[in-house]
Symmetry: C2
Subunit: 421 residues, 2 copies
């Protein structure tokens, strides 16, 4: 797999984009041989700029739930764009979409729409502070809630005030949750929770029902609001808020990515308890009321509501997981496959600087499969058993090649370490 | 002009959207008779859900520079969407778009793309803090730099830390700028500036070259970065950064709205001095690398580069301004028309609670023209002299009706006051 066009683009990019690329789609911390740029996408496939076809297990880092270029969803976008998209006021679709979300999400009595997942998490924080008149936030160490200054995972450009009043616990650790809530004391405004532990670099863990219920109780006891950040996992765990699987309803939940199959829209969803506080915050954006992404989201939600997409992506994920384990063992590797099968993370045992994982990913890429060494992946409903078997065949070859290369692999210079993310 | 469908939609919205609507497109603080929802848009026209056609002088609050549904721009969006939009990596268009911006904006050596204007202003703040290792910000009282917590114009849901280290000056007032910079002292990271004073509710003022040059000097003396927030005015003042009209180049500028004619994209643009700092911040979003809006932006920028759109919107704005003055005088009203003619704000003299302005706007709406009583408006290149004359005819009628109604107008209950933003 050769990348002369990608290389030339990177040289141009280095001149006009800081660092050549930025954010979660920069490939600087990914294995050798990963293209930076893509020309085309269709169903479960991506094509890089050099014409190599890749089975994409990242699904655009989540947004692709029904496959690239889903005809129904894109048609809804294009038709609404022709009628009116970003106008001087919203279209009726904002009402229809809020009604649809309220009908699908158990705790939802209302919705507000925005563009980034970060917009939704920031509005959740503001709503909780508006509701309580307090400032404190409890959240789990290592959990990602977006790149706005209050949640940004890196220190550069962040001022102390941005992240003041935050208290950290360990996910699924009730005692540490109680300690953090106690530390916030009478100032607690919000408890933020990821739907499950989907931190980068580490094994994923499902939510513990005892932990989730204790978070609900602590919010109720202190008068704080409970927020589930479903931006990444939303509608891949359930046809409802992801914490419905452990029987806990938050006051607020944050949505994005999959809700419009890649078209730009996100949402803050809340219960009646939080409505008055949400009314009082000022939150807006130039394109938040644009109708085309709302049309795409309505079509996506209807597919979520009426198809077996969820059972299919779970089955695809399980087929992948079982097949990978079998093939890894055959070549003497033990994998740690964690997270919901439909949002898999694949780590290698005894792989401190991820040199095994990186080399295996490089080989997978060479065989036409885009896998990520340290971020959870995503199954889409556009994938089939044939696609999974294609990935498994590539995996078998890649394990075989890794077995040969492993004894001579040097330190992994690209591994950014578990602190980054 | 009747709005039964709009009324029914508002009743549904009140159940599923906090306050029935939120943000800058909520019409609660606008005059009687303003529809909340729109069904269709084309060229300079909007249609509300009850089928009333309106000449739209708001241009979606700025994004519409070449008219709703511009065929070339929308075709670029749709064609790129069919190839690939939000993928697992960016398309080559991100490089082309950065190159195009660097070629068009004098101070630009690089660009980063995002979704909201607020994303760009927040990244500017982070870049300045990253560059200096300091926290302080100087900005003008009443200037809007987005709705993120650090810049949010209202107190609800904002914690003290969000807006710490900020020092306020008065726009165009060199002494107050110097005082604010002195107050920030050795902690100054950034001086933010609007391209001109386009605050809501008050007369607009062009940038004073002495003020702009002093801001540049103070940034250089202190090592802080100078940021021009061109989200609202960008490419309506110049085919370059708006402060090019006063001969001052900032280190960073923020763009959005008009750069893709309503398709969702914004940008932080910087000079080489700020490149290293921009490389080190972590900034990203789910849809920031999506290619379709970049295709639309490339086409929009080419129209900006190669057509006389700017001269045309200036001429249209001047025709409107002259015509309005003449018609207002005929009925005994004195207008304060401020700002660049192509971004007009129309206030009435001796109109403390804006009862005259609100009534006149209501009448304009009844005659099929959407004007705003306290936010600057926007001319678009899709407008013609015929459109302006249509607005002027409506204005003549509306002044006449206002003259009759003025003596009996009661207090304006909807006027939110100049403190609201």
């Amino acid at each position: 797999m050769s990348h002369p066009i990608d290389k030339a683009l990177r040289e141009r990019a280095a001149r006009v984009i800081p660092g050549g690329m930025y954010g979660h789609q920069a490939v600087g911390a990914l294995p050798n041989g990963y293209p930076q740029f893509f020309s085309r996408a269709e169903g479960p496939w991506l094509w890089d700029t050099d014409g190599n076809r890749l089975l994409d297990l990242m699904c655009a880092y989540g947004p692709q739930l029904f496959g690239y270029g889903n005809a129904k969803i894109d048609r809804a976008y294009v038709d609404q764009m022709a009628a009116g998209d970003a106008m001087t006021g919203p279209s009726p679709l904002i009402v229809e979409l809020a009604e649809k979300i309220v009908s699908m999400i158990g705790h939802a009595d209302w919705a507000m729409f925005c563009k980034n997942g970060s917009d939704a998490t920031t509005m959740a924080l503001m709503t909780a502070r508006s509701h309580t008149g307090r400032n404190g936030v409890v959240r789990a160490r290592g959990a990602y809630h977006g790149s706005q200054p209050w949640a940004n995972p890196r220190p550069r450009g962040i001022s102390p005030g941005d992240q003041a009043n935050q208290h950290f616990c360990n996910y699924n650790d009730v005692a540490s949750l109680e300690t953090a809530v106690a530390a916030a004391g009478p100032d607690l405004a919000a408890i933020f929770a990821a739907p499950y532990r989907h931190d980068v670099f580490v094994d994923q863990t499902q939510p513990d029902a005892v932990y989730a219920k204790r978070a609900r109780e602590l919010a109720d006891e202190t008068g704080a609001l409970l927020v589930v950040d479903d931006v990444r996992a939303g509608f891949r765990m359930a046809r409802d808020c992801s914490w419905s699987v452990v029987g806990v309803e938050p006051d607020l939940s944050c949505w994005g990515k999959a809700i419009a199959n890649g078209h730009p829209i996100s949402a803050l969803v809340g219960s009646d308890k939080a409505r008055g506080a949400a009314e009082k915050i000022y939150a807006t954006g130039s394109y938040w009321f644009a109708a085309a992404a709302m049309a795409a989201s309505l079509t996506t939600l209807e597919l979520i509501h009426s198809t077996d997409y969820l059972e299919r992506i779970v089955a695809l994920g399980e087929r992948l997981r079982t097949g990978l384990d079998k093939r890894a063992q055959r070549h003497g590797f033990r994998l740690r496959q964690t997270g919901p099968a439909q949002m898999p993370l694949i780590l290698f045992d005894d792989d401190q600087d991820m040199r095994l994982g990186y080399h295996w990913c490089s080989r997978m890429m060479a065989h036409g499969v885009y896998v990520h060494p340290w971020h959870n992946m995503f199954m889409s409903a556009a994938m089939t058993d044939v696609n999974v078997d294609f990935a498994l065949e590539a995996a078998g070859e890649s394990f075989r090649e890794l077995e040969q290369a492993a004894p001579t692999l040097g330190p992994n210079e690209r591994y950014p370490g578990p602190k980054r993310g």
